[in-house]
Symmetry: C2
Subunit: 124 residues, 2 copies
Amino acid sequence: MDESRKALYRARARVLKALAHPTRLWMVEKLAEGEHCVCELLETVDADFSTVSKHLSVLRQAGIVDVQKRGKQMFYRLKVPCVLDFMGCIEAVLAGGTKDRLEVPGMTTPGTACRRCGQREKKL
Amino acid sequence: MDESRKALYRARARVLKALAHPTRLWMVEKLAEGEHCVCELLETVDADFSTVSKHLSVLRQAGIVDVQKRGKQMFYRLKVPCVLDFMGCIEAVLAGGTKDRLEVPGMTTPGTACRRCGQREKKL
DNA sequence: TCCTTATTTGGCTATTTAACCAAATGATCG
DNA sequence: CGATCATTTGGTTAAATAGCCAAATAAGGA
């Protein structure tokens, strides 16, 4: 795998990591309703002001949300709403389910031999 | 927010966290082709055998992949293929884009006042 | 049975992350 | 200008994570 490909996966992982926190997930859903200032988000999250601010900063740096300053307040918005579509699949994972992809491409058959180990299973 | 709701967000975050690593993301894509044993995955990932094994364990415990032991080998499969659908949206985030949801629900308008701060913006 | 192969487990250390507190910034208001 | 409100930044500490190595398992094969 070449370096640019590695960088791609690192970048993707960074986005997911930004989302991978209960409070931040909750905030994303809250922002799906429309923009909110930090103090509004603070109300329902049981955490310190600075903690909330830092979570929002993580989401912003990942490119998931947007901010706009108006007056004394910072208004956060969901910049990329498609992240909300993740929830359905996450629920499927939690349900232990084997939910198919939304758009099913050609998933190739299992059965390729292990090139390193050189062999396929022997029994069954 | 009640405790069971918090637990839900924690659970969701756990799934995303399992996915939020470059190597694991890569493995998920690789497993989308069909099942692979650990040694096959090892070939292309530049890491220790035990490291690869641990990454797979994380994915398994999250419920994203499945294992089946056959002979000496452990065959990992993607249990919930819909996680592959995340990639499109992640790319949109990376592109700084404002990609809409796949299925657009009624996203409410911004403009609700800050109940805590008691006011809406003054200028502009 | 002993050896080899495939994979997991158990430390261990370095790095990252989360949370809180206190102090800094920035805007509006009196 | 000085006070106040909304939010961010910096510091600190505790906890979680990633990676490597070495040892433990588990299944076949000689």
